[in-house]
Amino acid sequence: MSQDLESQLRAALRPIAPSATFEKRLIACVTDDPQHSQPKANRVGGAGWRSRARWLPVAAAACVLIGVGLQNRLQVRRERENGLEARRQVVEALRVTSQKLDLAYEIVKSQSSSFTDENPGV
């Protein structure tokens, strides 16, 4: 495939939609953020405003709980990621070491072969 790299990049890097679950969670957190300093807009019908205010602490608490649960889950996942990354690095490090030790052996071997070729019968 012979294609312009920049076109390939643009096509491959089109924005990706997050999961529907995450979208709902994000909207809930943003719209019910208890630290939002802006006053809620007044709407026609004061009762609507009051009913939203009643649910606000519940939604905020739910958001905090979800956040804490997410945080724990993320921490576990991060530790697992770090552990797997460390494992990969160990394997790679030992592979590189082994490769260079082998290189030394190969050089010694080839020098031994040259010595034998140049000095037959020794």
């Binding site: 160990v90 790679e92 490090a93 590189v96 082994s98 082998d102 052996y105 010694v108 020098q111 031994s112």
Partner: protein
């Protein structure tokens, strides 16, 4: 308390004695200039905490993982700097000399010094011994388009490491055939 004065003296001298003891840990720079030029760069810094973390994620039921775990059991650190370039002589001897100077310090013994005229590859292997046991390993490999430094701190078992060769995708070398004729 027996010999309290001796104990106090030893306690006072401990830092000096620790300083005088050979240290198998090399100071490896990050070579930022080489990273910029390299087409591939491997920088690995595994201290005791990371080695311990890695060991937890090595599967004891997998033969390679089990062998790897066995090797890293007595180690305190693994440090690798490896740079690959797309042309010959992209790095200078000065880059290597800064590390080589550290290997002239007491305690380090050069185990192997190899040079290939054909491929212009040099591989030097150094080992640090304490009471006839290896407590440190250093490998410096300079090839036409690659430069690698490995420093392993701790009780490294070269035989076990050699046995792992085939499992890392590196073909096993017939050691018997490599013995020099006599």
């Amino acid at each position: 308390m027996k010999h309290p004065r001796l104990k106090i003296l030893l306690a006072l001298l401990a830092p000096a004695l620790a300083w005088a003891a050979p240290n198998p840990r090399l100071v490896l720079p990050d070579f930022p200039a080489l990273v910029q030029k390299a087409t591939q760069a491997v920088t690995i810094t595994l201290d005791p905490a990371l080695l311990s973390l890695a060991a937890r994620f090595l599967d004891g039921n997998d033969p390679q993982d089990a062998a790897t775990r066995e090797i890293i059991k007595g180690l305190q650190g693994i440090y690798v700097r490896s740079y690959t370039f797309d042309r010959d002589s992209a790095y200078s001897q000065e880059d290597i000399d800064a590390v080589r100077k550290q290997l002239a310090a007491p305690g380090w013994n050069r185990l192997v010094e190899t040079h290939s005229k054909k491929t212009h590859a040099n591989v030097d292997i150094y080992i640090m011994l304490d009471d006839n046991k290896a407590i440190g390993l250093a490998v410096i490999a300079s090839e036409a388009r690659q430069f690698t430094i490995v420093n392993i701190v701790g009780a490294i078992d070269l035989e076990k490491l050699h046995k792992l060769e085939g499992q890392f995708g590196v073909p096993k070398l017939d050691l018997d055939a490599s013995k020099a004729p006599h």
